[in-house]
Symmetry: C2
């Protein structure tokens, strides 16, 4: 069995923490590991690490690589790259082609698909269910995972189970897939007992899924027999459609494994208490929070001190450049805010103040007319592209580690508490030859200090000028 | 008549905006001028600028000087310095000594005392009342200003007026001073019609006040005949007592001028709508605020984007390093938060990230192990003390203006986009010889980067090592 994690999403339902530049799956929401890392480690209880893959797009490639490396250096290339986003059905077609061609899988290989940004506990229980699903998948079913609902949730799709399938443990037929219900309907579903939350996880053999693609998604199906290279080149012509809509809701092979487990898709800030247990006053507090007479709130901060007095049923999400305060129960309306901010082209919905690059990351400490100040962290062994800027010069002061700096044709080492100066229009390159992260302060001066004033002459990460 | 503004307070009722390092009177709360500047300009409608003085302490001397200079360069030395804070009664004794000795006033000179951090409108009406009070003061009264209440306010002290005094316009006798009432009592006061808010402003002649000090505050009184120098040296031995308690509540000469004017002491965040009119939804919004379905809130930000959804009756005060969220009507409880933060020695109750110095100010952009990054602004013509540091070296990069830098025995000019390096334990001095503010980025490196690692060898502002 191969386990494949879908990690191409750029959800903003957890804005301002989750943004396009660093979306939810890469965030350390509970504890010290990203949701993607937690997902990888959970799957490791089911299959060996070398059978776990992540499908993502070019923008998130280096985030995924860093997360995989943190679990095991051997995993860093277990990445399937989607050339463009075309929803889940084409992505799964690409996964199958990858398995057949690169991993030399037979068509009877079981593939287990799961989202990258959910919380599931405990791991042992999850592993048991995953193996049960594998058995049913081998017998020809497309096995979805239905979570036993604990409340009349209106934020999830539902699966209504039918009768048990023969010889497949607890796996049942699917009577129907149901859209996100209103509260009344959700209450009916809960009382009924045959409705389960659609967790977005499913197992199938390549043969089964190929047959279903052929029957229900011929536009996608006819592109699968090509080579991986050809399929990739042609990917933009795939229809953009979800696997649920393209296959699941039509297939007669769809089955559901009802499971009873702690599960959350952390789909809005309202669901955070499912992941981080509230204290005695019903408050979920993350960061430097001083709460007086405050009940049933969710307060999540970073460095800043947050003081609350007399609050009830509120959500406060504080980041360096954007603060969100929303009445509890209304967190799905964050979408409205995000849409308004997008319409006015606000950078706060796209990027954080910290921007991630293949070689590390930088944080803009301050920006003013004719200058910009950055804190740059370059990972060990990495190098920034060989580049030049037409409109700005740069002062570099090393505060930690050692830099190898090339200016024109001269290369030298610059150590902690030393500085160097890169004049305007001078070719330069920054490398970290050392074993610890290189940290430096960059002061840019010039008539224009935008990120797009860059001419890349060479880049080990294959980036080109846009 | 001399007008004297009391500007030594360090109130934290408007925390986190008002802190010891830059308290309320120096803050631009409404519009572009500090409350102190607004106070000076209001008094300018009553007396010439050269008759307006500010009494403050050494910590606020340069703030006051900068504010006075912004009104008129000729005013910058109209400052009476309190050696230590001893509440208002000793302060007023010091003011009288200053007037007699430095300004050569006669004992029949009227002194008008007013706080530095109140809002009063319109100015013309205020000026008319101030002149009315002057007349009554000349006739021997200590004239307080009683504001006609517009609501049953529990945050102010009250003055109950008695019968009119003969020949003094609207000036009445004081029947009694009343402490801040509870709501029921405040409602009774409002219905009664004879109770007025105690505005903290009052007028008197030196002769009258000296006589009352002699009668009711002999401990203070006996120190007034000394020279200003002697009184200053002995100031720490003054009893710490308010003028209300020491004199007003006992004096038979206390009078009240009932006035009908827009007045606010902006005593808590709850009172901000008295100063900044709410919009159609009842919201007071300052800064970059996106409010959805939000009513009757006060949201005050700086640079950060603030988004609110579904909020009602809340106060949100956001500063660079501290965020306060409090239910409307409970803003006086900010005091509890401030006390808790003081107890745990949190810097957020004392200083802002921007620290003011006689020569300008600096903002800490980032601080980490072994380094600190500052944005420094040095005003034209100013110079930082001649100094050295034992534990850190400093990189200076000029982003605006020109610096004169002395390193050891060498002095040179450093221009925009140039940098210089100050090694550990090297004597150095930074000056701004130019006509525009000098802005620079300082990167400190060293085993210890605390502000107290400084040896001052010379300082034009008279500062010494502590």
């Amino acid at each position: 069995m191969k386990a494949v994690i879908l990690a191409g999403g750029s959800g903003t339902r957890l804005w301002p923490v989750s943004r396009y530049g660093l979306p939810k799956q890469f965030i350390k929401l509970n504890g010290g590991k990203s949701l993607l890392c937690q997902t990888v480690e959970r799957l490791a209880a089911v299959v060996p690490l070398h059978d776990i893959f992540v499908i993502t797009n070019a923008d998130y490639r280096f985030h995924v690589q860093a997360d995989l490396r943190s679990v095991s250096p051997a995993m860093e290339d277990n990445i399937i790259l989607e050339p463009v986003g075309r929803n889940t059905a084409p992505a799964i077609a690409l996964v199958m082609r990858y398995c057949l061609e690169k991993l030399k899988c037979g068509k009877d290989e079981v593939i287990f698909i799961c989202p990258s940004d959910h919380i599931i506990e405990p791991v042992e229980k999850f592993a048991k269910y995953a193996r049960q699903a594998e058995t049913a998948a081998k017998a020809g079913a497309i096995v979805t995972f239905g979570i036993k609902p604990s409340r009349p949730e209106t934020g999830y799709g539902y699966i209504k189970k039918g009768g048990k399938t023969a010889g497949n443990g607890g796996v049942c037929k699917v009577e129907k897939f149901a859209e996100k219900p209103n509260l009344k309907t959700a209450e009916k579903y809960l009382a009924d007992g045959n409705y389960y939350w659609n967790s977005g996880m499913f197992s199938f053999t390549i043969a089964t899924m190929l047959a279903e693609f052929k029957a229900y998604a011929p536009e996608i199906s006819r592109r699968v027999p090509a080579t991986l290279a050809k399929m990739t080149a042609d990917f933009k012509n795939m229809p953009s459609i979800s696997i649920d809509y393209a296959v699941m809701e039509r297939s007669k092979k769809a089955a559901v494994l009802p499971i009873d487990i702690l599960w959350s898709d952390v789909g809005s800030w309202d669901s955070l208490p499912e992941v981080i247990p509230p204290d005695a006053d019903g408050n979920v507090k993350v960061g430097d929070v001083l709460a007086l007479d405050t009940k049933r709130t969710i307060v999540m901060g970073e460095k800043r001190l947050i003081s609350t007095i007399g609050l009830k049923d509120l959500i406060v999400i504080d980041t360096t450049d954007a603060l969100l305060i929303v009445k509890r129960g209304q967190a799905q309306r964050v979408k409205e805010v995000v849409d308004m901010l997008k319409a006015s082209k606000r950078k706060e919905v796209v990027e954080h103040l910290t921007t991630y690059r293949p070689w590390g990351y930088f944080t803009v400490l301050e920006e003013g007319p004719r200058y910009k100040i950055k804190h740059i962290v370059l990972k060990p062994g990495q190098k920034v592209s060989h580049q030049l800027h037409y409109h700005r010069s740069e002062h570099w002061i090393i505060v930690k580690g050692t830099a190898r700096v090339t200016l024109g044709t001269t290369t030298s080492l610059v150590h902690e508490n030393e500085s160097t100066y890169v004049p305007q229009a001078t070719e330069h390159r920054l490398e970290n030859p050392g074993r610890v992260p290189l940290e430096m302060i960059e002061v840019q001066n010039g008539e224009y200090v935008g990120e797009d004033d860059i001419v890349r002459l060479a880049d080990i990460y294959g980036r080109k000028n846009k």
